[in-house]
């Protein structure tokens, strides 16, 4: 019983981490209709900036994370404004090409700046150690991730549900023309959403550096999982991404315990299972 509970707890912390990454992806898709391949690269950039500020320059971990999130969010907004905006009127395949091109560009840029070798800084002192859960040590770091994940969920819910900005975003998402006719500055809404989504990618990346080395192309592994989760949850649906992350995180964790032979297959089995019952995803329209 304790084994099961502990494995579930580990799964929950994995889930919260997956949530951080898939939230940004699904928000951008939900509002802008852009499938942002470069999300993984923004994740990587957040990790590299976090590593540089915390691991090399010696800033406190929290400050390094905040600064990386801010910088990548600004970069995201700039990309939306400078590169994506001219493509909105064109066929969506141009957006895919552009974001995919960004992946290649940012990966190579990372290689030039930080080299091809992976980097990993020491764990911040306050994240070392563990609490005892179900008779076994449960790392502070995992606990911290769960906390951040829940805070982000709460923050996003408040922002979308309780603020004027959130209403503007939802209005824009459901009908772009009507929203702008009502006086909402939709271009500004788009930029702000990209700012937010990119910041979330960077948050996942920067928070990961104490336990996951960063290297060029590291975003590629993350983006596949994030895509699967958004598909499970229903593309563009934030609640879906949250539930999808929980499903994938917790079920995979139990899968590793019970059916280690089928490890590779879990996440796809979950996706297939969900899509068979609900082709539009759990919370899809």
């Amino acid at each position: 019983m304790e084994v099961l509970a502990y494995q579930g707890l580990i799964g929950l912390s994995s889930a919260m981490y997956l949530w951080l990454i898939s939230a940004g992806l699904t928000i951008i898709f939900g509002v802008l209709g852009v499938l942002n391949f470069a999300h993984g690269s923004l994740f990587m950039l957040g990790a590299y900036l976090g590593y540089t500020l915390y691991g090399l320059a010696g800033f406190p971990f929290g400050l390094a994370v905040a600064a990386s999130v801010g910088a990548v969010a600004l970069l995201g907004a700039a990309v939306e404004r400078g590169l994506l905006r001219p493509l909105y009127g064109l066929d969506p395949s141009y957006q895919l090409l552009l974001t995919f091109g960004l992946v290649l560009f940012l990966d190579d840029l990372a290689k030039l700046v930080w080299g091809g070798v992976f980097r990993i800084p020491p764990i911040p002192g306050w994240l070392q150690g563990a609490v005892v859960a179900f008779g076994r040590p449960f790392p502070h770091y995992n606990l911290f991730l769960m906390g951040v994940g829940l805070l982000v969920a709460l923050g996003l819910w408040l922002a979308f549900d309780r603020t004027w900005w959130g209403r503007a975003v939802r209005a824009t998402a459901s009908d772009r023309e009507m929203a702008s006719a009502l006086g909402i500055r939709t271009p500004a809404v788009f930029s702000s959403v990209f700012f937010l989504g990119s910041g979330l990618a960077a948050l996942g990346g920067a928070l990961s550096i104490p336990v996951r080395p960063v290297s060029p192309g590291v975003g590629a592994a993350m983006i596949v999982q994030a895509f699967i989760i958004t598909v499970i949850g229903g593309l563009g649906n934030l609640r879906g991404a949250f539930v999808g992350s929980l499903l994938v995180g917790v079920l995979s964790s139990y899968g590793t315990l019970w059916f280690p032979e089928f490890e590779l297959f879990f996440i796809f089995a979950i996706m297939a299972g969900v899509l068979l019952v609900r082709p539009q995803g759990l919370f899809g329209p």
Binding site: P139, G217, L257, P260
Partner: protein, 379 residues
Amino acid sequence: MASGPHADYGRQIEMGAQLAIEEINAAGGILGCRLEMRFMDDENRPAVGVRNARFLVTEWGAHFLYGTDSSGVAMALGPVLRELDRIQFFTHAATHRLTEELVAQQKIKQIVRVSAPVYQDAVAAWLFRDRRDVRRWATIGADYEYGYATWAIFREQMRRLRPDVEFVGAAWAPFLTTDFSPHIAAVMATNPDGIIATPWAGEAVTLLRQALLQGVFDRIKVWFQAMGGSVDVLEGISPEVKEGRFQGKLYATARYLHNWPNTETNRSFVSRFAKRWNRMPNYSAETTYSAVYITKAAVEKARSLQTDRVIAALQGMRIETPAGLRVFRSEDHQFVYAVPAGKVVWDPRYPIAVLGELKVFDPKDYWRWPPFRPLELSK
């Protein structure tokens, strides 16, 4: 492989080859001919590796090929090498099938392997043979052939040496796993005394970091990180080793260790390499460096570039290399040499963590030898 999280192995292959070529050219080349190299990234994809090989041989005019990190790419290259009739010296890909199946069985003579194959991981059984307190073994394995092969040969050797041990748990992590915490939790639920882990490169660093966080080293007696003696892994875990966080329980091996053997050949190679590249040489650098010198010896003996003549010149070859004496095994074109295993320690003489308390075993004891019985792979 020169892109992605495992790119450093490709980079080290390039650095090793480059150094050998510069040295050989400075000393007058091979039979008076200067060497040239063209380096290509296979992106860890068999189709790209095959395309590169065809391009290098038919367009660029390569006489010999070197490298290849992934076993999957290596297995795809095998038949193509026969068709192109060019020898490739494999300097990292570790699957036993490359030499046992493609060379010994299918007679693809164009395959030669200079690096120690997956057999090397069986050294763990010998290393812990006398640890009577380590009875319960589990694996956190790479979820592909390399991980299965290691677990299979380790268990085979261990059963022979220590009939009292039990194999209690296994968790399998696919390529590019970044979150090992479910695997660690699942394996620790089986209360192992020892863990043998096969994720490599950055994944090994990730795994060890996450194992430390889950307090694994307070509860186990030994952890064998198979390719943990790789320079990039040692660089990645250096801070924790320095602080003693692994409590002297972390052991590893590799396909070459820069601090062994203590011979003039090796010391001089390491210092030249470090001077040229400002890094310590990893195994893929040494194996490729040695492969170029093996080519030189073979071509000078054969006085020809023809595959048959060069292969004939390789027969019976015993050659002193930085990793020590390498002996050509004619049945499967595998160079045999010993690599020690040891404890991961901090030694102030080196800029990064190293393997210490090294134990060397005879490959006669722990490698697989012809005639090869098929290895039963199971998870």
